[in-house]
C-alpha cells in the first residue's frame, strides 16, 4: 500500500504543479516575448528560489509536530484546497463558469506588457521581473503547500518536490518548444483529478487526526478516492442537466 499512496502522492503533486505552471507559463511567455527574456527569467528564478525556500523551511518544521496533530492540520488544509479545486472544476464542467482560456490570457498579458512602456536599455526591467516573479510565486505557492503537506505527512518530501519539479520542467520544455501558451491542456479535467486526490487524502488524514481508525487501514483510501470521484462526477452531471432544463424552459 505505501507504493499506492506514494503513486498518488507523486501524481497529485505532479498534476497540481503542471496545471499551475501552465498558467504561470502564459504570463512568463507574454512578458518574455514582448519585453525580453533577461529580466523575465531572473524573476522566474527568484520566484523558484523563494518557493524552494518555503518548502525547505516549512517541510521539516511540520514533521516536528505530533503525528495526530500533523494529520489533522494537513487533512484540514488539503480539504480546504481540494474542495476549492473541485467546486471550480464542477461549476466549469456544468457550464456555470467559463473555462480558463490560456490564449485569451496570453493576449491580455501581452497587451499589458506593451502598454507598460519600453524597457530601459541597461539594468533590470522591473516590470518584466515583477510580473514574472509574481506570476510564478502566486501560481506556485499552492503547489508548494501541497508538496509540504503531502510530503511531510507521508515522510516523502523529496518525492513530492521531485514530482512538482518534474512537472515544472516538462511545462517549461513544452513552452520553449511551442513558444506560445499551452491552450490545449485539459486544465479542467486535471483540476478535477487534483481536487479529487486532495479531498480524498484530506478526508483520510483529517479523520485519522480526529482519532478515526479506517476499516482496511490504507486500503480505505482507494474507496474514499472512488467515492469522492463518483460524487464529483454526479454533481457535474446534475448541474449540466439543471442548466439544460433552465435553457429549455427559457428561465
Amino acid at each position: 500500500m505505501p507504493l499506492v499512496s506514494g503513486g498518488f502522492l507523486f501524481l497529485a503533486a505532479f498534476l497540481a504543479s503542471a496545471v499551475e505552471m501552465v498558467e504561470a507559463l502564459t504570463i512568463v511567455l507574454a512578458v518574455g516575448i514582448t519585453r525580453g527574456w533577461r529580466s523575465t527569467l531572473i524573476g522566474v528564478g527568484a520566484a523558484g528560489v523563494a518557493l524552494a525556500a518555503v518548502v525547505a523551511a516549512l517541510g521539516p518544521a511540520l514533521t516536528l509536530l505530533p503525528i495526530d496533530v500533523l494529520r489533522l492540520l494537513v487533512g484540514a488544509l488539503l480539504l480546504t484546497f481540494g474542495l476549492q479545486w473541485l467546486r471550480k472544476a464542477i461549476l466549469r464542467a456544468g457550464g456555470y463558469r467559463p473555462y480558463r482560456d490560456e490564449a485569451a490570457a496570453f493576449i491580455r498579458e501581452t497587451d499589458r506588457a506593451h502598454a507598460a512602456g519600453r524597457p530601459g536599455r541597461s539594468g533590470l526591467d522591473w516590470y518584466s521581473f515583477t510580473i514574472a516573479f509574481k506570476g510564478v510565486l502566486l501560481e506556485g505557492l499552492e503547489v508548494a503547500f501541497i508538496v509540504i503537506t503531502f510530503g511531510s505527512t507521508q515522510g516523502r518530501l523529496g518525492l513530492a518536490a521531485a514530482a512538482a519539479g518534474s512537472a515544472l520542467l516538462l511545462v517549461a520544455a513544452f513552452g520553449a518548444f511551442v513558444r506560445g501558451p499551452l491552450a490545449r491542456v485539459p486544465e479542467n479535467a486535471i483540476k478535477l483529478a487534483v481536487g479529487v486526490m486532495l479531498t480524498g487524502f484530506g478526508i483520510f488524514w483529517g479523520a485519522e487526526g480526529t482519532g478515526v481508525t479506517w476499516p482496511g487501514d490504507e486500503l480505505a483510501l482507494l474507496a474514499i478516492l472512488a467515492f469522492v470521484l463518483a460524487s464529483a462526477v454526479a454533481l457535474g452531471a446534475m448541474l449540466r442537466f439543471t442548466a439544460l432544463r433552465v435553457v429549455e424552459s427559457g428561465t
Partner: protein, 64 residues
Amino acid sequence: MRAFARFWYDFVVGDDWRVAVGLAVALALSALLVELRIPAWWFLPLAVVLLLAVSVRRGARGER
C-alpha cells in the same frame, strides 16, 4: 497589511467561507463521535461531499 491578510484569506478559505466553517464543524463532530466510542469512519466522507454539494449549488445559483 490588509492586502496581505486578504491574500491568505483567499488562499486558504477561497470563494465560500461556509465550506471552511463546515469543515471545522465536521472535524469537531468526527472527534466527538470517536470520543463517544461510536464508529466514525463513515462520517467525514459524507459530510465533505454534502458540503461540496451545497457549495456547488450555491455557486451555480450565484453564477446564473
